[in-house]
Symmetry: C2
Subunit: 419 residues, 2 copies
């Protein structure tokens, strides 16, 4: 008898997480003897705890196919860490209660480090309780900080967006530098790891081109050295383009974005390291400065997704189902790099205890010795990840993204108290 | 005997200004009996005053063709208003001195309101001095604030970028709203006119979708009404996405971006109305807020240019040359809308005295009565301008933008003092 599957999206969404969802659903439909319905959690794992399960079998094949080109999280995601994992009570016990009620035999959890840990705990608890469950983690995170896998699906598309935007804005500021803006600052995501900042470096194809400087979260901000480099770039090239990580830290280890900006009423200003850097440059070097904060634009930019990233996002979703139906649990499909030039890759398997809660930072030898740019080794690693285009369809000038029906399954357990 | 042409880019650059440059150069090459070389000003009109003229005849046809897909200003632009236009001395006299020295018979000035005025003054001065010159303005501005023409080339591409980005980020915040970000703020350009803000409104295909609110520079900011609307959107739809013009003004007529943000050292913060709105929403409604500032990314985003805009940018450059060789001066090619659905347009001619220094704002009936969204009439106007895609070629994952040789012509006049 086929058993149902549960799929949930976790944490920050990406331009390609829905491609993994499409892969899970489409692949599950190819195993009707093992897998019944794929039920998706509304707003991620909360959908399981609240028993608000979306019946994906009611969605037309064309709608599921359209998830490949639709950003955001089609079923909703959440930032919620399950409680009481070790006791077998609390959220974890509730999860198994709902799984039992809906005969869930397969659990696909699409997320980053945290959700890998959750997925592993659920697998262990099910095993301890003798509940048959294949729990497979589907990797996703724009931060590219998952270990074992060559890269994290979702990252390649952000990287392509940021490198493209930096190249374009660099041409703009270069045009204006004679009488107007000389310095441009682009703030990018990646609070703890500088992978996205590094990706901005790909925009530069030769010396003198944007970006001239990268400010990594891995390198403490040295104000004097930085200002000297900005000054040097403006003297040599007439302008200076900078990518800065939202997680840039000062010599004291504090985030520069929390450097105490206040509005006229004394309220603390909400985030933003780009304006801090811009204010510094204008104050010290008296250049006209422009700054941009890409924020959600970068991780939802499906219109300029990387074909490689899209293919890999789909591949890990497909592999997750294939692993589950062949008896694997507590694992994650991982991208394995076979070669860089040309880029060849395949999907391997990683045990979740090697993945859970391990954060991969940018290696020091990916950052130039002076700390302000990427090395050729880094470029060799990154370049294949942004290769290829995968445009969405357009309708009246705008990307034609799909919206699913997202109908809920009838509840089978008593409602629980609000968490 | 053919006479030479002078082409210059003025003011803020766009994703398609180089397409107009390509059109001027390619079309001029088709009139060898009237036009000799096209000389371009390095850094705009300053290139003429400094007699730093770029010889575009040294560029290969393929390089000129590649300008169609390259953002920024290929010859450099500037923000510089010529002095002493009415006296026949100063900058204007210098301009004609350089024109005489290089036998310039055609002047193509690619810019907005200011440059239309300059172009007109140059035409009048040349006529007054009996110097034969065809001075034609080529329209361009992301702000869409030029009169007479249906739209300003360059605007359609920003509009497409902003509407796409808003749709994408809207899907993102909608996915996260259950436990995390509920309100998203995107700051867009257009300090005096709300055309780009209005374009964000195109992202919404039905009620409940992003953007939920638009904050126009034409509508004074009403804090209480705004907060009530944000609260309402979050209650109804779970989230609220907002586009705000950099030129939003408070009830006192001051820019909100200059609302007195200070860093920890008391320095005035550099611009940014999005963080001001974000801080307000978090402070009053206690929702988690994210904000983005698109800045130069929006006007250089050639990777998602509008096909319509690209075609029109090329068409006005081509028409400018055709007008000049048929004896017109002190004119500007203008886009004439023949019909909206389907969109049909042609190129007409506008006398420059109808264009110079006239700023077209968003009509009140393009803004909904409550001041927070666009009307169907506005949508009917805007929609055709973002229609169609025009992707650049890619190389190793990134748009393959061209860089010209930009070799200077030998000087023929004594160097002038620095201005």
């Amino acid at each position: 008898m086929p058993r149902n599957a549960f799929y949930a999206q976790s944490g920050g969404v990406t331009a390609t997480i829905n491609a993994s969802a499409a892969a899970v659903i489409e692949t599950a439909r190819r195993f009707p003897r093992q897998i019944g319905k794929v039920l998706a959690g509304r707003n991620g794992i909360l959908g399981a705890l609240d028993e608000d399960l979306i019946d994906t079998s009611l969605e037309a094949p064309a709608a599921i196919r359209a998830l490949r080109h639709t950003p955001g999280g089609a079923f909703g995601s959440c930032r919620y860490k399950l409680k009481d994992g070790d006791t077998g009570h609390g959220d974890f016990a509730r999860l198994l209660e709902v799984f039992r009620a809906h005969d869930i035999g397969f659990f696909f959890y699409n997320g980053g480090n945290d959700s890998a840990d959750t997925c592993l705990k659920v697998a262990r608890l099910a095993e301890a309780q003798g509940y048959p469950l294949a729990a497979v983690h589907v990797p996703k995170t724009v931060d590219n900080d998952l270990p074992v896998t060559d890269n994290s699906p979702g990252f390649g598309s952000v990287a392509k967006y940021i490198a493209t935007s930096m190249r374009e804005a660099g041409l703009d500021v270069e045009s204006m530098a004679k009488t107007s803006t000389r310095v441009f600052v682009l703030e990018v995501m990646g609070r703890h790891a500088g992978w996205i900042t590094a990706a901005a470096g790909l925009a530069q194809s030769k010396a003198g081109e944007a970006p001239h400087l990268l400010l990594f979260p891995e390198i403490r901000f040295d104000e004097a050295a930085f200002l000297a480099r900005v000054d040097d770039a403006v003297r040599r090239y007439g302008h200076c383009a900078i990518a800065v990580s939202e997680g840039l830290q000062g010599a004291d280890g504090n985030f520069l974005s929390e450097a105490g900006l206040k509005d006229a009423f004394g309220h603390a200003q909400l985030g933003g390291v780009a304006p801090v850097i811009a204010t510094l440059v204008r104050g010290r070097l008296a250049h006209k400065v422009h700054w941009a904060v890409a924020d959600y634009l970068q991780r939802s930019a499906r219109h300029i997704a990387s074909r490689t990233d899209l293919d890999q996002s789909y591949a890990v979703g497909k592999a997750a189902v294939e692993l589950a139906v062949t008896g694997h649990t507590a694992v994650m499909p991982a991208i394995v790099r076979v070669s860089s030039r040309p880029y060849r890759w395949k999907v391997g398997v990683a045990p979740l205890d090697k993945v859970a809660n391990v954060e991969r930072k940018l290696p020091r030898d990916f950052i130039s010795p002076d700390g302000f740019h990427i090395t050729p080794k880094c470029r060799r690693y990154l370049e294949p990840l942004i290769a290829g285009e995968a445009y969405p369809p357009y309708d009246r000038g705008l990307p034609d993204y799909v919206r699913l029906k997202n109908r809920s399954v009838r509840r089978r357990t008593p409602a629980r108290a609000a968490h």
